[in-house]
Amino acid sequence: MAVAETGAPIPEPPHPALQILRMLWRDKFAFAATLFLLVVIFCAIFGPMLFEDVATRQNLRGRNAAPFDFSKDWSFWLGGDALGRPLLARIIVAAQNTITVAAGAVACSLAIGTALGLVAGYTSRGLSQVIMRLADVIMSFPSLLLAVIVLYMLEPSVGNLIIVLAITRIPVYLRTSRAEVLEVRERMFVQAAQVMGASTGRIVFRHILPVVFPTLITIATLDFAVVMLAESSLSFLGIGIQPPEITWGLMVSQGRPYLTSAWWLSFWPGLAIILTTLSLNLLSNWMRTALDPVQRWRLETRRES
């Protein structure tokens, strides 16, 4: 290689963080995705604090203002909603509730589902049977009914919404991780670890989980969109987050009646959902490559190849 030919001394390996940044830079899509997610996270943390007032100011006579009118205040660049409130400011403010609900629900269902799936795949048949049939029950329990029950008895709040959405998404992680465990535990290296007397915990966490995880992450990133849109349809039926609270899902469902007359009402929040999901997925694909020693070369050698 070039370095060796000039005879220069082998450089110090760069700092690990720098190395990761470099790999990120090489995949331009993943880099853009990371930037976008940072913006979203920034909005989620500081949005309500900065723009709450702007986002709730109504102007009935200026409703459904068209987008791209740059003579107006910046907050109206994406247009106004049905009550004349600026869409851009509302999207920024809504990021907080949206990300809290989506991240909360996805993280809970991923953690609980995976844990139960690992147990079901790796323990006695009796316990496994109980867990799997429980998953069947959750899978057949209509999520809407669950939402009506929970939210009829409790207030429609962010926390309760996370519970409802998390429960409904548990089975997919549970069944996926268990199916993978069934296969992985028969593989050579796991059998070898068993023979060598490794503890169950060690086998599960060191040998099985890393194999199972990439698939689960792929599902989880797309579940972000599923959860945001499910939350939107719950709001539409009156059992999700209710005005004056806002989420992207609620904005999408509030724009629904105007789809043919003022498309921007539901388009921008919908686009925010799409871009967030897309970014998460691109980033997770990149991570899968970057963290896998077998595939890492794809990111390290692209420039030379």
């Binding site: 109504q58 039926l237 209710q242 004056p244 007359s261």
Partner: protein, 500 residues
């Protein structure tokens, strides 16, 4: 298995042509919700009434917008005194199954409404609190007695759908038989309902020969179906979908939107607070923006076409300063005006209801009220709207939309304002007396008493925040000659449709 297979085969072989409404004298009507049943005694529900009422099942009398109560199955009627009315029925009428119509069918239909095997909505809605009995006095004459006496008994009979006495007395019918101009042919649940014109109808054969009803809950899709030529009439489309002046008709739909105040709980028990709530709402600002142009500001519970509507009352003006001043005045007298008030809205109650409620609460907040909006689904809303009221949540304001297309305030005032009224937020003995007096009176006196009652509720009690008399939109295919009216909300008479 084989019928299923043949059905699939039929679907697969069906050609692509002909999804637009085809035959010249056939119409397709796209409704916003599926019919749960097609029972004539449930026809006061608007979705069932639009198909059944006066098309399949007829009533003794009929309320015609602009011309008042008209004969239908009864040719004439007279007050016999003592709560009894005598109805002279048409003689040349047959049911669609060929049997003749006679007074016994009316007796049967009336009794069926009070069956102890199932609950009919018409009976529950209109004949509560009275005992109705009917007696056959001749081949075509019948006496109907109510206890207590009802001066508007003939009007009440415009709600009673008549079934043949051979119909099932103990359960819903699934193929209704009536005296109307159309035969109910079939109901393919989830897909469509088909009616066809009768040649032997007593009123002469109608122009429209067959009608197909289909169901789409999305307003944009209903509008698109008429635009694409797949349907001819789409009642109830949203304001934002009514974009084509050539096909989209607006009409007052007999609905009144108001905010029911709980006048028993502080601070809503103070009249100044209630006045302030009225003054703080810029009702004009909604019209032509969130709500349709042509929406009227309301001063009472019933639409202006009702008898006894007080046309002298002026809506409260939008006066934020005065509202704030009244609130300060109340505060100075020790009224707890800062108490949080829960505002309950009903989801999907009318188009844009959520936006309307959001804007309304923002206006109240501007005036200094501490209000908290909660939009709920119908089941939960019911618990707030009807007695026994929810307790322990502080003062509550409930958004409601009330429909009175029957021409007389009696169908509204007792329930909404009497101490015993199921949705009444007030209890005032003087008001109770006024309602009772007006209910018992007739003619001009009745009209005058109702006008006084409306004024008393509006000016003296300031019982509620009246908002608007609403407007509905119906999209009609240009090949039809049809004008929607205030009755279109509850019935859609196919025999009134002509082709251009």
């Amino acid at each position: 298995m084989s019928p299923r297979l043949s059905r699939v085969a039929a679907i697969l072989m069906a050609t692509t042509a002909g999804f637009a409404a085809s035959a010249q004298d056939a119409v397709t009507i796209v409704l916003s919700e599926e019919l749960e049943n097609v029972e004539p005694c449930m026809a006061s529900k608007s979705n069932i009434g639009r198909v059944i009422l006066q098309n399949v099942s007829e009533t003794l009398t009929e309320l015609v917008p602009g011309s008042g109560l008209q004969p239908r199955l009864a040719e004439s009627w007279e007050d016999m005194g003592g709560g009894t009315w005598r109805f002279h029925l048409r003689k040349d009428v047959t049911f669609s199954d060929g049997t003749a119509f006679d007074p016994g069918d009316v007796v049967f239909s009336l009794a069926r409404n009070k069956s102890d095997k199932f609950v009919c909505e018409i009976g529950a809605k209109y004949y509560g609190g009275m005992e109705l009995s009917a007696k056959v006095v001749g081949d075509s004459t019948i006496d109907i007695t109510s206890d207590p006496a009802q001066p508007i008994l003939p009007l009440l009979m415009s709600t009673l759908t008549v079934l043949p006495s051979e119909a099932n007395p103990d359960a819903f019918v699934d193929l209704p038989v009536g005296t109307g101009p159309y035969t109910f042919d079939e109901y393919n649940r989830g897909e469509n309902i088909k009616l066809s014109a009768r040649d032997d109808y007593w009123g002469g054969a109608p122009t429209v020969k067959t009608a197909t009803y289909v169901f789409r809950s999305e307003s944009a899709v209903r509008a698109a179906m008429v635009a694409a030529g797949e349907a001819d009439i789409a009642p109830n489309i949203a304001l934002q979908d009514a974009t084509d002046p050539a096909t989209d008709y607006s009409y007052p739909n007999s609905e009144t939107v108001y905010m029911r105040l709980d006048t028993q709980t502080a601070p809503l028990d103070d009249v100044r607070v209630r006045q302030a709530l009225n003054l703080a709402v810029d009702k004009e600002a909604f019209v032509g923006t969130i709500l349709a142009p042509g929406t009227l500001l309301a001063t009472g519970m019933t639409p202006p076409s009702t008898i006894g509507y007080n046309h002298d009352l002026q809506p409260y003006p939008y006066d934020l300063e005065k509202a704030k001043a009244l609130l300060e005045e109340a505060r100075a007298d020790g009224v707890p005006v800062d108490t949080e008030i829960l505002v309950i809205g009903r989801l999907e109650n009318f188009a844009n209801v959520t936006e309307t409620m959001e804007a309304l609460t923002a206006m109240w907040q501007d005036a200094g009220f501490n209000v908290n909006l909660q939009m709920v689904e119908t089941a939960e809303w019911n618990e707030y709207y009807s007695k026994p009221f929810v307790t322990g949540k502080g003062p509550i304001i409930v958004e409601a939309q009330h429909d009175n297309a029957n021409g007389d305030p009696v169908f509204s005032m007792f329930f909404k304002y009497a101490c015993d009224g199921a949705q009444s937020g007030v209890c005032d003995t003087k008001l109770d007396e006024r309602i009772a007096a007006a209910t018992a009176a007739t003619g001009d006196q009745r009209e005058g008493l109702w006008e006084d009652t409306f004024a008393y509720v509006f000016n003296d009690l300031v019982a509620d925040v009246f908002l608007w008399h609403m407007v509905g939109f119906t999209r009609v295919n240009e090949r039809l000659d049809f004008q929607p009216t205030i009755r279109t909300n509850s019935e859609l008479q196919l025999s009134q449709i002509e082709f251009k």
